[in-house]
């Protein structure tokens, strides 16, 4: 529960009373000002364009670079007063982090429409012009419309606070079932089907590609075989009992090191781990370099 005292606290310039006229006016003003800025940008000279884009990119990155470089105040707590300017700035950085991540997510989320536009332009175009496969575009459009319709209907009638209150009295059954059938019955199942179909493809790819042609493919095949056998409990246990007839566990180092899980974990510990790790280090540095080039806008073709 939020203490009542907080409601009486004065609001800063950036805040407003929820639902008040002032809030809606300020929101409207912000949108208008934003669009005026866009209108001004439309007139930006060609030369200035890359500069604007690089500056924005740089500032975006700078926020996290400051997080990275600025000494972090120990035990940050929003209800304490920083002791000095260094701590004060760190407090600001830590306090704004949730807003900045939420901003990036909201902005990214709003761009989904661009993708949906691309999809619809293809399918509606095909549908209206009755091109080849127009029927399937119809299937696409209808399933999408149905999912949106029942998705929101169900959400509004059941999952929003107002809806939940209404649903407590008269449960709205239809949208709930329709959404669950589309989402839980079809969509989730289709997801699972496509995921499981990989088993077939692994089977055919392995059959076709795993031939003992070169040293490399032999090594790959051999290791895969050992690991697969080691995953089969039945094989492991029978090999164990076979080896136990030669020497009990702990009696002979040589016999013990022939056991499948031992070989498997030795390979994984001493060869797989470091080799994958080294590869990851390479990728990590590649990513770091790319991030650096993007941040400073020295990667050609991205910001200009």
């Amino acid at each position: 529960m939020i203490p009542v005292a907080q409601a009486a606290q004065p609001l800063s310039f950036w805040q407003a009373e929820p639902g008040s006229t002032r809030m809606w006016l300020l929101i409207l003003a912000a949108v208008v000002v934003g669009f005026l800025v866009v209108a001004a940008l439309l007139r930006a000279p060609t030369r200035a364009r890359p500069v604007i884009v690089s500056t924005v990119t740089f500032l975006g990155g700078l926020y996290f670079v400051l997080h990275f470089l600025w000494p972090t105040a120990q035990d940050y707590s929003p209800d304490e007063v920083p002791r000095n300017a260094v701590e004060g700035f760190s407090f600001w950085l830590q306090g704004t982090l949730p807003s900045v991540t939420a901003f990036a997510q909201s902005l990214g989320a709003m761009l989904l429409g661009i993708g949906i536009y691309s999809l619809l332009s293809i399918h509606l175009g095909r549908l209206l012009k009755r091109q080849k496969d127009w029927f399937f575009s119809l299937v696409f459009t209808l399933s999408m419309a149905a999912m949106i319709l029942f998705g929101y209907w169900d959400w509004i009638s059941r999952l929003t606070p107002e809806g939940a209150r209404a649903a407590a009295e008269t449960p709205s059954v239809f949208p709930h079932f329709a959404k669950d059938l589309l989402f839980g019955g079809l969509f989730i199942n289709m997801d699972a089907v496509m995921f499981s179909i990989i088993a077939f493809f692994i089977f055919s790819a392995a059959y076709r590609a795993f031939r003992i042609r070169s040293v490399e493919s032999t090594i790959l095949l051999g290791t895969a075989l050992i690991v697969m056998l080691g995953l089969m409990g039945g094989v492991v246990v029978s090999q164990d009992s076979l080896l136990n007839s030669i020497a009990q566990p702990g009696e002979s180092v040589i016999v013990d090191s022939l056991r499948l899980p031992t070989i498997r974990s030795w390979i994984q510990d001493n060869l797989q781990s470091p080799s994958i790790r080294a590869m990851e280090f390479g990728l990590a540095i590649g990513g770091l370099a790319m991030a650096l080039r993007l941040w400073l806008s020295i990667e050609k073709g991205v910001s200009h």
Binding site: M1, M232, G233, Q268
Partner: protein
């Protein structure tokens, strides 16, 4: 897709090397279906030998002190139910039988929460049928719900767990009121994340590093993962960032096996050395379930794969030999 098979007649070697895709798919389909039906009819129990990382996970989960809190971070949907589903069932059984309290959250997808609810309901039904007390929401477990921005939530958990989940509420059945989750018997003693006994993540994707990077030093993190993610995560177990690891379907069977056999005072799985066991078994309870139901089919599918590769190689060898002549 079907390959043209007229033209000059193929040698045996070439035939062995060029089996039709559709034919391969059909065999796999038949073999797996048959194994499942056989398991269902005969209740086959294929033996296994638990790995050290599964044993560590079991030790921690089996020894949650009475009333200790475990966070269950579920990140799987029905598409990886084959591996994560069995792990979830085993996890819930161990926690409920050890009397641990747990809180479920997700930051992968909202439906993960619904799926987890389904699993809790199923295990509860099973407990009711066995005459054991049911696990009650609010008193014994909590659903914290979905967090859209996991990394930030975890970062806040690292600093202040009460701040991170402060908006989350649950219904108190005694009054029917919505109250803060921190007033429930599950979380009321949790002031900091260090007060949580363990943090278990079930996932089909690489969410674990995000968790470990933020709270791995404060709480024991156990990862239950699909076989795909395993080699990558093994590094984290070896570097001590993960305290336990369960590897896909085989890990799930190992957990079921450990629940059946236990670890004795000497640390031997299934042994019966005198003294207090390192992690006891649950004798007589339903320990084998989904993991074991799939295990025979896994064996036959893997054997089929190995056979197919062998056939291809024999074919290549025969062809090469006839060419050399």
């Amino acid at each position: 897709m079907a390959e043209q098979t007229d033209a000059p007649k193929k040698s045996i070697g070439e035939i062995l090397q060029s089996a039709n895709r559709t034919f391969l798919y059909l065999i796999l389909f038949l073999v797996v279906s048959a194994s499942l039906v056989v398991t269902q009819l005969r209740k086959v129990e294929v033996p296994t030998r638990p790995e050290p990382y599964t044993i560590e996970a079991y030790k921690i989960l089996r020894n949650v002190p009475e009333g200790g809190v475990v966070i269950v971070d579920t990140g799987f949907t029905n598409s990886s139910r084959g591996e994560n589903g069995g792990q979830m069932e085993a996890l819930l059984r161990i926690l409920m039988r050890s009397g641990a309290k747990f809180a479920v959250l997700s930051w992968v997808e909202p439906q993960c929460i619904e799926i987890a609810r389904g699993f809790i309901r199923r295990i509860n039904e099973e407990r009711r049928a066995a005459g054991e007390p049911e696990y009650r929401e609010w008193y014994d477990y909590l659903i914290l719900g979905f967090f859209p921005d996991g990394p930030t939530m975890l970062q806040t958990v690292h600093q202040n767990v009460r701040e991170a989940w402060k908006t989350r509420q649950a219904t108190d059945p005694t009054t029917g009121e919505k109250r803060s989750v921190f007033e429930s018997p599950v979380l009321d003693r949790v002031q900091r994340i260090e007060d949580v006994y363990a943090y278990v993540t079930l996932s089909a994707s690489g969410t674990m590093p995000t968790i470990v990077a933020r709270i791995g030093k404060q709480v024991k993190v156990i990862s239950m993962i699909t076989g795909v993610m395993f080699p990558e995560q093994l590094n984290y177990f070896k570097s001590g960032q993960l305290k336990g690891l369960v590897n896909g379907l085989s890990g799930c069977v190992e957990l079921e096996w450990l629940m059946e056999k236990g670890i004795d005072a000497q640390g031997v799985v299934g042994g019966n050395a005198p003294g207090r066991p390192v992690a006891a078994a649950f004798p007589g309870a339903k320990n084998f379930d989904r993991g074991m139901a799939y295990y025979l089919a896994l064996h036959s599918a893997l054997t089929l794969l190995i056979l197919a590769v062998a056939v291809g190689n024999v074919g290549m060898w025969l062809t090469n030999r006839s060419r050399k002549r």
